[in-house]
Amino acid sequence: MAGLAILVPILLATVTYELWWPYNPNDIDLLAINKGPSPEHWMGSDGVGRDVMARLLQGGRTSLLVASVSMAISTIVGFSVGAVAGFAGRLVDGTAMRLVDLAMTLPPVIFLLVLASIAGTGVGPTILVISLLSWPVLSRMVRSRLLELRERDFVVASRGMGAGLWHLLFRHGLPNTIDILVVYATLQVAGGILLEAGLSFLGSGVTPPEASWGNMLNSARSVLVLENYPRQWMFPGAVLVITVLAINFVGDGLRDAFDPRAELN
C-alpha cells in the first residue's frame, strides 16, 4: 500500500503536468544554462537551459509509457507462447521452448543494435526491444505451471469433451496463471523503466532531445555534469529509484496476496 501511495501521485503528476507547470520540457534558454534551483525553476535548468522539472515530468511520462506498453506486449506474447506450449502437445511444446531458448541466447547488444538501426531510435523501437527481451522468462513460468495442470482431471475432462485450444487457454490457462501474470506484469514495469535507462546508456533507447528518465540520467556520463551539476542527474535518479521501488513494493504485495504461504505475517 505504501507503494501505491507513492506511485499514484507520481503518475498523476506526470500525466497532468501541462495543467499546472508553466514550462515546456523542450524550451531552451541559452542565457540561463546549468542554473541551480530557484523559485521559478524548482530543479534548475540543464545544459541548454531547459527546465529540469518539466523534463523530469515529461520524461516520467515517456518512461512509464515505454515500460507499460512493453509490459503489455511481453505479457501477451509470453503468456500465449507459454500457454500454447503447455497445452498443445509435445511437438508444439518442444518447438516453442526451443524458440524461447533461442530468444534467450541472443546477445541483447546485437539485438538492440539491429533493431535500433532498422526501426530507428525513439519510443516505438524502445518498446519493441524491451518487449522482445522480456517475454521468454514469462513463457517458461507459464508453461511449467500449465504442465502440472495438463494432467489434472478437469483439464483432461474438458479436453475429452472436445474443447478447443482457445477454450483451454482462456477457461483454464488464464485463471490458473493469473497470479504469475499479475506479479510478472507489475515487476516488468519496474524492469522496463530500468531497462530503458540502460538502453540510453548504450546509446539507444529514447534519444534526446525527447526527455526520458533514462536519457536524463545519462547526462551523468559527462564528467562536467556528474561533478559540477549533480542535480541534473540526481533528481531524475531519485525519482526513478523511488518509482521503481514503489512498483516493486506493489508487486511484492500482490505476490503475497496471491500466495498466502509466502509471508503469513
Binding site: L30, L31, D46, T207, S222, V223, L224, V225, N228
Partner: protein
C-alpha cells in the same frame, strides 16, 4: 618517411626524387637502409598485398638504390601529391618481412605480436582493450628518450578516462570539451587547447529536393543563433565558421555573417514557399556524434529551427551506421546531417567533401553537392602550385561556400587534451588523426 630522409632533391622535370636517408636503426638493431625503402615502396605499389597505397603510388616507375643511404625514385608522370603520399607510407623492415609471401603480409600475425619500427619507442606488448606498452629505444637516432616506458591505455568510456586522469593513474588524455572544463583552476593539471581543424556543418542532402532553393538554406543559417550557442554551450571554445575555413588567410573580406534573425528566416522560407516544399513534416537529422555536448547542441538548434517552422528530429547513430547510411543511396534516410570534415591545416582537405567530382563512391561528397561554380573554384585552387596565389584561390572557395551554402557551416570547435602537471617537455597538438602531429615524444618526461 619525411622524418627518415635527412634531405631530398627533385629533378627539374619533377620526375625524379633523390632522398638521402638519415642514420637510423630498427628496433631489432639492424640498420635502416635504402633497401628497406625500395622494399616498402614496391610492396605499396603491389595491389596483391591488399595495401591502401596501390592506386596512389601507381606513378612510381622505378626505385633505385645506388648505395645504402641513397634512394632515387622515378615517376612516370609529374605528381604534385607524391611527397604527401610518401609521408603517409610507413617504412617497413625488409630483413623481417621479405620472407613472407606478398599476399599474406597484410594479415600476418607479427603486426600485433612483434612489430618493429624506427621511432623513439619500441613495442613491448599489446593487451587487447587494455593498453599498449612501449619501451624506450636505446639507439634512437635523436638520442634515447627520457622516459623508460610509455603506456597507451584504452578506455571504453570517456568518463572512465577522466576518472583515471583525476586519480593520477594516467598522465595525459584526450578529453571531451565539456569535461575539460572540470579541470579549470586545478593546478595539478594543464589543459591543452588547440584548433580541431574540423569544421562542423549542417549537411543538406542535395538529392532529397527540399533544400534546392538557396533561400531555404539561408533561412536555416539565419534561424540558428550561432554566437549564442558558442558563448553558452561551448563556453566560448569555438570559432564561428561562415564558410568551410576559419584560418585568416583563407577567409576573404565581406562574407555574409548570417546573423541571428528569425524574422528574416521566416520571410525567406515564405518567399521560397516552404509550406509547399516540406512544411511541418519532420526531417530526420542524422549525426555520428554521441557526446552529451552534441546532444545539447542539436537540441538547441532543433528548438531554434522549430521557431521558424522547420521541424527537425535529431538522431544520433554510431559511426558505422552513419557511414553505411550516408554512403548509400537511400537519400530519405538522411535528408539532413550534423557532421564535421577536416578543414586544415591543408585547405584541400575539404575538396573531397564538396567538389562535384567527388560524389560517392569516388569521393566523400556525402551530401551530393553539385555546384559548378564551387567545383571550379576547388579545381582552380587545387591546381595552383604557388602558395601565395593559392591562398587567394582558397578565398574564392570560401566565398562560393558562403554565398551558395552547400552546407550550413556552423563552427570550428577547440579540441582538448589534459596533461598532468608532472609531465615535463610534453609537446602535443590536439588535432584530428593525431598521427603526424605528435611531436618529439623522446623529450617527454615525468617530474620526480
Amino acid at each position: 618517411m619525411g622524418a627518415l630522409a635527412s634531405e631530398f632533391e627533385v629533378s627539374p622535370d619533377s620526375l625524379s626524387y633523390t632522398f638521402r636517408l638519415a642514420d637510423a636503426k630498427w628496433h631489432d638493431g639492424e640498420p635502416f637502409t635504402s633497401a628497406d625503402v625500395k622494399f616498402t615502396l614496391e610492396l605499396a605499389k603491389n595491389a596483391e598485398s591488399g595495401g591502401l597505397f596501390a592506386a596512389r603510388s601507381a606513378d612510381i616507375a622505378s626505385v633505385e638504390t645506388p648505395d645504402e643511404s641513397t634512394v632515387i625514385v622515378t615517376l612516370s608522370q609529374p605528381n604534385s601529391a607524391f611527397l604527401s603520399v610518401l609521408s603517409y607510407v610507413m617504412m617497413l623492415p625488409e630483413h623481417a618481412l621479405a620472407e613472407i609471401p606478398v599476399a599474406e603480409i597484410g594479415k600476418n600475425a607479427r603486426w600485433s605480436t612483434t612489430p618493429i619500427g624506427t621511432g623513439p619507442f619500441r613495442f613491448v606488448r599489446y593487451v587487447s582493450d587494455q593498453y599498449v606498452e612501449l619501451a624506450a629505444f636505446e639507439d634512437y637516432r635523436e638520442g634515447r628518450p627520457k622516459v623508460d616506458r610509455l603506456i597507451n591505455r584504452y578506455f571504453a568510456n570517456p568518463a572512465a578516462a577522466v576518472a583515471a586522469l583525476k586519480a593520477g593513474e594516467i598522465q595525459f588524455s584526450f578529453v571531451e570539451p565539456d569535461d575539460a572544463r572540470t579541470f579549470d583552476g586545478d593546478t595539478a593539471f594543464r589543459v591543452i587547447e588547440g584548433d580541431s581543424f574540423v569544421v562542423n556543418y549542417v549537411g543538406f542532402n542535395h538529392r532529397v529536393g527540399i533544400w534546392d532553393d538557396v533561400r531555404v538554406r539561408r533561412a536555416v543559417m539565419h534561424a540558428i543563433d550561432r554566437d549564442a550557442i558558442i558563448t553558452s554551450i561551448f563556453g566560448g571554445a569555438a570559432k564561428r565558421a561562415d564558410c568551410g575555413y576559419v584560418a585568416d588567410q583563407f577567409v576573404p573580406e565581406g562574407l555574409d555573417p548570417y546573423g541571428y534573425d528569425p524574422e528574416k528566416a521566416k520571410a525567406l522560407l515564405a518567399e521560397a514557399g516552404w509550406d509547399e516544399i516540406n512544411g511541418a513534416a519532420p526531417i530526420s537529422w542524422v549525426t555520428y556524434y554521441n557526446s552529451p555536448q552534441v546532444a545539447n547542441l542539436m537540441a538547441a538548434m532543433q528548438a531554434m529551427l522549430a521557431q521558424v517552422g522547420i521541424n527537425v528530429v535529431p538522431r544520433a547513430v554510431d559511426v558505422p551506421t552513419y557511414n553505411g547510411i550516408v554512403r548509400g543511396e537511400t537519400y530519405a534516410d538522411f535528408p539532413m546531417t550534423y557532421a564535421g570534415l577536416q578543414n586544415g591545416p591543408d585547405p584541400a582537405s575539404l575538396n573531397v567533401g564538396l567538389n562535384g567530382s567527388q560524389l560517392p563512391p569516388v569521393g566523400n561528397n556525402l551530401m551530393r553537392v553539385e555546384m559548378p561554380e564551387l567545383s571550379s573554384a576547388f579545381d582552380a585552387a587545387m591546381a595552383e602550385t604557388d602558395s601565395a596565389a593559392a591562398a587567394g584561390k582558397w578565398q574564392q572557395v570560401c566565398r562560393a561556400m558562403n554565398e551558395q551554402l552547400p552546407w550550413g557551416t556552423m563552427w570550428v570547435a577547440s579540441r582538448y587534451g589534459v596533461a598532468s602537471s608532472d609531465l615535463v617537455d610534453f609537446h602535443w597538438t590536439p588535432a584530428p588523426g593525431s598521427g603526424p602531429y605528435v611531436a618529439h615524444p623522446e623529450d617527454w618526461d615525468i617530474a620526480p
